[in-house]
């Protein structure tokens, strides 16, 4: 028996993220680059260690190689521990059976033995596809004070958007009496953030029961939460009020990157006591050439910039040649933008080439609310010289 841990975190990182199209064809959503030098999963991993939780299982399934290699022994997040640390947990062959993770709850069910090795009182369930900073230890305190079976982090969303979320309907003391998945007529604005703390003993019992139920989707939202409510377990909502963004769509991914340029957006990356860690790439400082103009943008290590950049996020090792223009865009690692190319209102994946004179995207003068007008160039795609990628187009999706 290993040394007991009070709380073990389980990070669900197996989702495909189909709505990100070309960006998630080769990698799982949590492995998508974000914010210049990070990947989406860095936020959750960093939150976990910053909250004092040092044992974390990362459940991978869809395109796991990138994530497996990235997480490695967990050292960049200080998660290389003698007892505990980071563990990548793909589905595996067991004595009686071996199968893919069928749903979020089944993924945890299949790893009951992993969790039991640490004999924890609590289990924190996380998903690796949100951008936010959160101290889970405060949520754990909240859970303990109420002696709850389950605590669910909720985020206050505008009522007109509430029907897009899973909603926790609560009593005055925040006890949950009902869970509604994307209701037409929302009764509350408490959107579930997909962050749960369970008292392990209770969750384990419900996971085993759910697994025995024929026809169950083995999903936390659809099955476990409603079942626990039905069984009369004490379940509470935990209000979170900081910056939080789901980056499941191209437009939200683009917006979240742009939020880093806006000091009013609420995401402050530069907090000394809550750093976001990432695996380092050993690149030299970036170079701004004699013909470059860089305005209101983020640039990181390994870049060579000699073009015009405005209102953009430029990732590690990007090369922007003289005479190229990049506006309102995010350019992912090691992409080359050749002379005279123009990129506007676009997301360009990693290792891509935008050849000279090509034009990618363009801001529509008055996009309708919710309209998807961001051009996307997939990873490793080459946009030939003097060609045009229309606003809203996606190049490189199979």
């Amino acid at each position: 028996m290993l040394m007991k841990k009070e709380c073990v975190a389980m990070l669900l990182a197996g989702g495909q993220g189909t709505r990100l199209g070309a960006l998630t064809q080769e990698v799982a959503k949590p492995a998508v680059p974000f914010g210049g030098k990070y990947k989406i999963i860095d936020f959750t991993l960093s939150n976990t260690i910053n909250s004092g939780i040092d044992t974390i299982g990362v459940l991978t399934q869809y395109q796991p190689f990138e994530l497996n290699q990235y997480i490695g022994n967990g050292q960049p997040w200080d998660l290389d521990r003698l007892n505990g640390g980071a563990f990548v947990l793909p589905p595996y062959q067991k004595a009686k059976s071996g199968e893919w993770y069928k749903g979020t709850a089944n993924a945890i069910y299949q790893n009951i033995d992993f969790i039991d090795r640490y004999n924890p009182q609590y289990v924190l369930i996380l998903s690796g596809d949100h951008i936010y900073k959160m101290d889970y230890s405060k949520m754990l305190e909240y859970h303990k004070e109420r002696d709850a079976a389950c605590t669910i982090a909720v985020f206050d969303v505008p009522i007109e958007q509430a029907s897009r979320f899973g909603l926790m309907n609560t009593r005055e003391d925040n006890e949950i009496y009902e869970f509604e998945e994307k209701p037409k007529h929302p009764k509350s604005t408490n959107a579930s953030m997909g962050i749960y703390i369970f008292t392990w003993e209770k969750l384990k019992a419900h996971l085993i029961k759910d697994e025995e139920t024929l026809g169950s989707s083995n999903d936390f939202g659809k099955n476990i939460i409603p079942n626990m409510l039905g069984a009369g377990e004490k379940m509470y909502a935990y209000n979170f009020s900081g910056y939080w963004k789901d980056v499941g769509t191209i437009s939200s991914l683009w917006e979240a990157n742009m939020d880093l340029l806006d000091s009013q957006s609420g995401i402050n990356m530069n907090e000394r006591d809550w750093k976001i860690y990432a695996r380092n790439t050993a690149e030299p400082p970036h170079f701004i050439g004699g013909d470059a103009v860089v305005k209101h943008s983020i640039v990181t290590e390994g870049c060579n910039i000699d073009g015009y950049i405005e209102n953009s996020v430029i990732f590690t090792g990007v090369d922007i040649k003289k005479g190229a223009v990049v506006k309102d865009s995010i350019i992912m690692p090691n992409t080359v933008v050749e002379a005279g190319a123009v990129i506007s209102h676009a997301v360009v994946g990693w290792d891509a080439v935008i050849a000279s004179g090509a034009m990618v995207g363009e801001r529509q003068t008055a996009p309708k609310a919710g309209e998807w007008d961001i051009a996307v160039v997939g990873p490793r795609v080459k946009i030939e010289a003097n060609t045009r990628v229309a606003p809203g187009a996606m190049i490189g999706a199979k």
């Binding site: 210049g36 030098k37 530069n270 750093k275 976001i276 170079f287 290590e301």
Partner: protein, 371 residues
């Protein structure tokens, strides 16, 4: 013979000529190139060449070095059976004082060298910034049958006490000497980096120490020239030797040249350094940056030209930085102007200050000072 290399590095050297820049640190831990310390280049070259047992001899002021190196993890040197060993100075029973030269210093760790399983040793000072493949050096060493291979690079004698290497067409060294007066004439300059077999090193050090000799170059190498067993290995590409404030400034500024950066960083041999998890650099609306090398974590809202900014530097609105080097954590406040300046770590230049050195004599602002 196993043809494997270990290394012994000297963290100190030339501190007296580096003046204010080494008041608080060793030459090895002098910040260079926006996010590195000088020792990073030698350590990375060794690691990239498969050398994983590295002993570092420190003499004084080595707390910044220890803080930088830690367990060597950032260079993948936190190995079970090899890795980094830092040797602080300790007094020899006989001398009752800290070692005087390289010979005595190596003598104090002879047991460490003897016990190591590698058959060859790379000896180096840590004041070189270059990208060197020691595997290729080893091959040449075996091919020439040299006793000692002396690494060198073409360049002018830009500061005093540079070692000049003279060789024949087969790279056999026929003269070695120190130059006291700088000149612009191009010569082959020694990089204070040598490869030799462990047995020979132990033999030389024991003999020299027994005779009270201290200077590795003068007392051992120079005497070997006549035996015809010294060979030169010329490092192609950029190789900076940093041994005084002027060379520090000039070599730093060369990094603004694309070809120099390609030679130093562009190949497969990556240069590693301590990871600090700084955020990417933020360019605000009033930022205007030209021809400059900028590390992560900076917030720029002023003008920066022909300069190097290390990590986490803040340039406030209206500030103008030209031809300068701003080390980590520097804050240049509103409407201040800097030219030909080197500000050490954590220096703050308050509002409306004007500081200027000259291209041949850059002004140095000492660590932690507020101007």
């Amino acid at each position: 013979m196993n043809n494997k290399m270990m290394s012994v590095l000297f963290a100190s050297g030339n501190e007296s000529k580096l003046n204010e820049l080494t008041i608080h640190r060793t030459t090895a831990s002098l910040p260079f190139g926006g996010r590195y310390r000088l020792i990073d280049f030698t350590l990375s070259n060794l690691v990239n060449s498969g050398v994983s047992r590295i002993g570092i001899i420190a003499r004084s002021n080595y707390s910044s070095l220890m803080d930088h190196i830690r367990m060597g993890r950032d260079w993948d040197l936190n190995r079970k059976n090899s890795g980094i060993a830092v040797f602080p100075p300790f007094v020899l029973n006989t001398a009752r004082e800290v070692y005087k030269g390289k010979i005595e210093a190596i003598y104090t760790i002879l047991e460490y060298i003897r016990r190591s399983p590698e058959d060859y040793v790379v000896i180096a000072n840590c004041n070189i910034a270059a990208n060197i493949d020691f595997g290729a050096v080893m091959k040449t060493h075996l091919k020439t049958g040299a006793d000692v291979t002396v690494l060198c690079s073409k360049g002018a004698v830009t500061s005093s006490r540079r070692m000049v290497v003279s060789k024949d067409k087969d790279s056999k060294i026929n003269d070695l000497y120190f130059v006291e007066t700088p000149s612009t004439e191009e010569k082959l300059i020694g990089l204070n980096t040598y490869l030799l077999s462990k047995d020979l090193l132990i033999n030389h050090i024991e003999n020299a120490h027994a005779r009270g000799l201290v200077d590795f170059e003068k007392d051992i190498l120079f005497k070997e020239v006549a035996l015809g067993k010294l060979f030169a290995y010329e490092v192609s590409g950029y190789a900076a030797i940093v041994d005084d404030v002027k060379t520090y400034y000039n070599e730093s500024m060369k990094l603004l040249n694309f070809d120099v950066r390609e030679q130093l960083f562009g190949g497969s041999g990556k240069i590693y350094t301590k990871v600090k998890d700084s955020i990417p650099t933020v360019y605000e609306d009033k930022g205007l940056v030209r021809n400059s090398l900028i590390a992560d974590g900076c917030v720029i809202n002023g003008t920066v030209e022909n300069s190097i900014l290390f990590r986490n530097v803040e340039v406030k609105e209206g500030a103008v930085i030209k031809d300068s080097i701003i080390m980590e954590g520097g804050v240049i406040m509103e409407n201040s102007t800097l030219a030909y300046a080197i500000t050490d770590k954590q220096v703050t230049i308050r509002e409306n200050r004007q500081i200027s050195g000259f291209s041949t004599y850059p002004i140095v602002i000492v660590k932690n000072k507020v101007v």
